[in-house]
Amino acid sequence: MCLAIPGKVLEIEGDDPFLRTARVSFAGIVKSVSLACAPEAKVGDYVLVHVGLAISVIDPEEAEKTFRYLREMGDLDGLDAAPEILAPPSA
């Protein structure tokens, strides 16, 4: 239930901080999301959405740091190749 999904803010509507909403695209599926808990969100940002509410604006620099760190540790030789998405093993 604590799952939250990242989506891109396309458009913001309303001025009242409590009632502000955004149209957010989740890989093409667009939903209306409350921005009451993400007042800093701007068009183009990615927000983490949980049960209709944006709970965090994703920091792209921090997202990149994980991979930079791994690269520096020499743990990641294959990172620059096209990523192969991990699939669940077949049952």
């Binding site: 239930m1 604590c2 799952l3 939250a4 999904i5 990242p6 891109k8 901080p17 409590f18 989740f26 890989a27 409350s34 009451a36 808990c37 993400a38 007042p39 990615y46 983490l48 949980h50 049960v51 209709g52 509410l53 709970i55 965090s56 994703i58 920091d59 792209p60 921090e62 997202a63 740091k65 994980t66 991979f67 791994l70 540790m73 743990d75 990641l76 030789d77 294959g78 990172l79 190749a81 990523p83 192969e84 998405i85 991990l86 699939a87 669940p88 093993p89 049952a91």
Partner: protein
């Protein structure tokens, strides 16, 4: 999907698994708190990439699993009252109470509706002014801002036919309860990333200090979980007991101040009884006294439902990390998602549901037994 696909990159996951193996010299038991993390671990087989010494046990971060059966009985009672619409997250509908589940109440004529967001339940109340809409507000800190918003918005808009049946629980008191038990085996925690996105990380420092245990705030994708685990193992190996944030793209140290302010307007800390774990002091939230008219048990003068007998379900031991789903003699035999004995078999975040869906469907044979 941006911020998802790159965190499922198989090469990165395998590199992290190698790094964990290189860092491990002794056996360690680490608990991931959140059921969403449990499902990712079992679904992607992350535990099978780890060196044999690393054991992952699965924590209580499944709101549906820890909601007391007696509250489900109250939800069923409300759903069967004429004029009431009982709105709930879909996950709750199949969870057994002491009597029937909400799906059965629906089959018996109760008006039970599944909603995606508590705000949708407020809209339902607006659309049905002659009915009473009760939202079954379960969840951890992550879900509390949305549930708080629903009641505050109903008050702002003067919607009188809306109320909440609240079963809100908090992660840090449960971690203390797990660590304080005499049979505890948890040596490191992966803290629940989205709970920390709301609340920040300050609450965890005293726990790390007091119980001398590393706590790593961790996300939900395979790369996140492996990175959280690597950091946790490195702390354990080095004898460090710190709070680290391995999910900094979503979690700030101070959390989300707007969300915290909304939660404070609606909720106050109370003692809660957790299904499987029992009573834990100051471990939940309930509506503030000034919002009493949105509190369904008061509004409908519900009596506390009688406490049911403890059944065969060992969910408490599983959620404390003492046992795993395959240790349960009922797993996959007398307890299945279609006929569950306990909540972890039905919730999309329950450990038993994850093992049933992605692993062998019967108890593992005991070593040495015929």
């Amino acid at each position: 999907m941006k911020f998802v696909d790159e965190f499922r990159d198989a090469a990165v996951v395998h590199s992290l698994a190698d790094a964990i193996a290189r860092s491990t010299t002794r056996p360690w038991t680490v608990m991931e708190i959140c059921g969403g993390q449990t499902h990712a671990i079992v679904k992607f087989g992350l535990d099978q990439l780890l060196p044999p010494g690393i054991t992952l046990v699965h924590g209580p971060g499944c709101p549906v699993c820890v909601t007391p059966a007696e509250l489900i009985d109250q939800a069923v009672e409300l759903a069967l009252r004429p004029g009431v619409i009982l709105a709930s997250f879909g996950d709750m509908l199949r969870v057994p109470g002491n009597g029937v589940d909400l799906l059965t109440a629906k089959a018996r004529g109760g008006d039970v509706r599944t909603v995606y967001s508590p705000l949708d339940a407020v809209r339902l109340a607006q659309d049905h002014p002659t009915r009473e809409v009760v939202f079954f507000a379960v969840g951890f800190e992550t879900t509390a801002p949305a549930n708080a918003m629903a009641v505050l918005r109903a008050r702002q808009m003067g919607i009188g036919n809306f109320s909440l049946l609240v079963s809100h629980v908090l992660v840090p008191p449960a971690m203390r309860a797990i660590l304080g038990a005499p049979d505890n085996r948890v040596e490191g925690f992966l803290a629940a990333g989205h709970v920390c996105a709301i609340m920040g990380t300050a609450e965890y420092a005293p726990i790390a200090r007091e119980f001398r245990i590393p706590i790593v705030v961790t996300g939900f994708e395979p790369v996140d979980i492996m990175e959280g685990l690597l950091r946790c193992v490195r702390q354990l190996e080095a004898g460090r007991t710190e709070v680290e944030n391995a999910y900094a793209r979503a979690v700030r140290a101070e959390g989300n101040p707007s969300a915290q302010a909304i939660v404070r307007q609606a909720f106050t800390v109370v003692d809660r009884t957790w299904r499987g774990l029992g009573p834990i002091p100051a471990s939940g939230w309930d509506l503030r006294p000034e919002l009493a008219r949105y509190d369904a048990p008061r509004k409908f003068a519900l009596r506390p439902a009688p406490i049911g007998a403890a059944g065969e379900c060992i969910s408490g031991e599983i959620m404390r990390g003492v046992k795993k789903p395959h240790d349960c003699p009922a797993f996959g035999i007398r307890c299945t998602p279609e006929r569950p004995l306990g909540a972890p078999m039905v919730s999309s975040e329950g450990a038993c549901a994850a093992y049933y869906r992605y692993r062998q469907r019967t108890p593992q044979p005991v070593a040495g037994a015929a």
